[in-house]
Symmetry: C2
Subunit: 514 residues, 2 copies
């Protein structure tokens, strides 16, 4: 019977995965093409689908099958795919069964409405418009965290971050962030003291969105993103969404100037998308692994390592521009006439404290993340009231980055996350940067001449390495375990600091060592 139980369990998970992917389509559509007036109905659709999915994920049948499989020695051999699958199915089931269905539906309904309110509030720079929704969302998330339960000696926040980064805690993250912040702050100061003014003229040229879009699509394809099972659209906030087992949708946003903002958003989301396309999901029909943990991403930190790697380690390298700049003419015309690869390399590796996280440079990016981590932790604890968010936000930006926030649209309303009900999500961005840097050093040891390959637009060896070492495993290993397997080391801030100092030394002449 064991095989039959396991097969039935996997079939039920596939159905739950199918429902989850439909919910992703609702979300993608809401951000891309849905007419504004459809918001209340969309919220109902989200709530109902979330409730049905939750009901299925927590059904007694799933629990019974899981229990039976766990008793079966043939399925629980250490190191076997089935054992890893069952470990993660148990984890998901235990988490899911702690949430009452009405809370799941309420979160889905409220965040769907809150997203809409956030979008309007951001457009109108009107925090008051968003405040009641933030209040509601925080209340629901507190309830959610309480249902999950706080680990011993931990805090509510841990229960939420665990959903995105299994096993991580606020205290551990703080322990990583605090020294990293000091070293980043040093770097920013040294850059400032260098007195070097980078010429960023090549970013100021105006390039119509349609041309940028064509160029972005071309780069995506060359890097290995499969557009037969993917798309690229335009939204307020770039994201990557799995709307089906073989349907990976990226979004980006264009401005006339600073074409690299959109390009790097595109490459970032593509990094997520390549991971998703590399997971062994199959096509979603009966025999595919779709819906099983073995076909799912490990954690958001690992997910982000993929997006940041393509965005920064590949996309902001000199080699990338050596390849991309001459090719770009076909799409961008003579917009970059007179710019050299080295000019673009320097321009996209400036270190300048700024207001917007998704447009921040690599040197200051993690400081943006740390601010959000502190604030959302305080919001959840109740130490910070939602109404006091703008003040707290602006004070921290002045303190950590030395910038004055001119309005909430460019301040605490800039990110979509809280309206989506995502608390505990932001720190995974910095974890992703750390993982990316550490993976990158190993990759460069294992693929000789990688830089030269990138300079020729040859991305296949890199993608193959990622597929082999990271993507194909799905959730077989936990994040820390994967990191040790791949790099031989536990996660450390050193590779990231080496990377940032190396770039800053080439652009600003600061010390490579610190």
């Amino acid at each position: 019977m064991s095989k039959k139980n396991y097969a039935e369990l996997c079939a039920l998970l596939r159905e739950a995965g199918t429902l989850t992917s439909i919910k992703s389509l609702l979300g993608w559509d809401q951000e891309t093409y849905m007419p504004d007036g459809a918001t209340p109905g969309r919220s109902e659709q989200n709530a109902l689908l979330a409730a049905i999915t939750h009901e299925r994920r927590t059904s007694k049948r799933v629990g019974d099958l899981l229990g039976a499989c766990e008793q079966d020695k043939a399925l629980t051999r250490k190191g076997s795919p089935e054992a890893a699958n069952l470990r993660e199915i148990r984890r998901d089931y235990d988490l899911a069964t702690r949430l009452p269905g009405d809370l799941v539906a309420a979160i889905a309904r409220t965040t769907s409405q809150a997203q809409h309110a956030w979008k309007e509030a951001r457009e109108k720079d009107d925090f008051a418009m968003f405040l009641p929704w933030l209040d509601k969302v925080m209340g629901l998330l507190r309830r959610k965290a309480e249902c999950y339960g706080t680990p011993k000696g931990g805090e509510l926040y841990d229960a939420l971050i665990d959903e995105y980064e299994p096993g991580a805690t606020a205290r551990e993250i703080e322990a990583v962030f605090t020294p990293l912040r000091a070293r980043l702050t040093d770097l920013v100061r040294e850059v400032k003291q260098s007195g070097v003014k980078v010429n960023t003229k090549c970013l100021k040229t105006r390039i119509p969105a349609a041309r940028q879009h064509a160029f972005g699509l071309w780069v995506l394809e060359r890097m290995g993103f499969n557009l037969a099972i993917g798309r690229l659209d335009v939204t307020t906030h770039p994201f990557c969404s799995e709307v089906g087992p073989a349907d990976t949708r990226l979004t980006t946003r264009y401005r006339d100037q600073h074409f690299t903002d959109a390009l790097y958003s595109t490459l970032h989301e593509m990094g997520h998308g390549l991971y998703e396309q590399g997971l062994p999901k199959g096509d979603g029909t009966a025999k595919s692994l779709f819906g099983q943990p073995l076909a799912e991403a490990i954690s958001l930190g690992i997910h982000e390592s993929q997006s940041r790697m393509w965005e920064n380690f590949v996309g902001r390298s000199l080699a990338f521009w050596k390849w991309a700049l001459p090719k770009s003419r076909k799409f961008l015309g003579d917009a970059l006439e007179g710019c050299k690869p080295a000019d673009l390399f320097a321009a996209v590796n400036t270190v300048t404290p700024s207001l917007i996280r998704v447009e921040a440079d690599e040197g200051t990016y993690n400081l943006h993340v740390m601010i959000r981590f502190e604030i959302e932790r305080a919001l959840l604890r109740g130490d910070l009231k939602p109404k006091d968010l703008p003040g707290a936000w602006n004070a921290r930006y002045k303190d950590a980055l030395g910038v004055i926030v001119p309005d909430d649209a460019r301040g605490c309303l800039q990110d979509v996350h809280w309206s989506f009900g995502l608390i505990g999500y932001f720190p995974t961005y910095t974890l992703g940067n750390l993982y990316a840097a550490q993976f990158w050093e190993t990759i460069n040891e294992q693929i000789p001449g990688l830089d030269a390959q990138i300079g020729k637009g040859q991305f296949a060896p890199l993608l193959a390495w990622l597929r082999e070492n990271i993507h194909r495993h799905g959730k077989k290993y936990r994040a820390g375990e994967l990191c040790e397997r791949v790099t031989g080391q536990a996660l450390s801030p050193e590779p990231l600091m080496r990377h940032l100092r190396s770039r800053a030394s080439r652009v600003y002449g600061v010390n490579e060592e610190n």
Copy 2:
């Protein structure tokens, strides 16, 4: 308890309606933006959602509540909204409970794949590629019809058409179609004999799709289509889809020449859309009527009466062009320089036997429908084998319209319906034309000066009339009943023939009487 039962029943229906609307989004997305490679996964999504929706629609709880409400005198007073609702809920429930869940899922899965196959087959003009899917779909539809059950003295086809046009039968339709066909054939012959060659030069000018789109959107808005709760996109086959209670999405398709093809497709789908926007659905949240029959369209025939009215009775009138032609310059530039309203009126009212139904003129359109009615009826009966479809198609086109079908792409592969599993749907197009003509005569009696209003772009009185007399009632009345209430007469072919002869007499000088 009666109020409570009724409220719970309506809440369950609202949930089922919400699920149905999500399924519409899956369909809309598949036709608009879904990447090709996502087809298998989309089929699974469709199948699962169809199964869940069916399960809910046929649940014992719905049956129990319905039964209890039917015993309740307060809810069954003749003529009351509740009584009408219960009548239709009973009908839907009895139909739905006759279908086994696995059949519903199989139809959803198969038609989702068949649509994809149809699209490719049509592009490649390769009937053999579509044939196995047509075979499968016909087999499933035969099973469906058998489950519904054949009315006494009727045939399998009746069971399917009843889903789209409650109460209609193949024999009745044949009885309407046969004399109508003779009168239409006469008209086409007289037009030919008139020897008049209409100058259609004004349709041949090239207009870029983006300009046509902007013009189409502008006309939609002026006619009263609410774009805050609707959209217009581009697909292979134009359609109107309700992807939420307040989310009506139209599609159209553009060619460089013959801009009126896209325009009339747009107006046609808008007619459907205005009906949907006029139904008293509310926003889909707890207190709205969404999901109840009182907020649903009566039948496809009535739906089609709305689309054909806006497309033909309004859109192809001289008055329309008197208004639209000068306004079009802002969008189309000088593309129509030198054309007069009367030129456009004549050009869009030519009567010329042709190949493509959706581009057919009003005079020949119903002949296209009749061919499909005969063929699908024969396919379902088994009198015609799917493999013999192209031959049968081509022979009928030669016979009824005198045209030679050059390839299957412009022959039996032109319509999406069969791949969607829609059999019994086509005849509603002609019923729609008949209803539209009959309504139009009444409307002109009741709105004095309507033609002059259209000539000034004043569509609000017409839309208000439709809202008041047709849209707001939802399914309160059956189609025939509504027709009698509104026009004082049973459905008759006379108004349509009067309309067609009037137009043909103005363009070709044929006799107005027949």
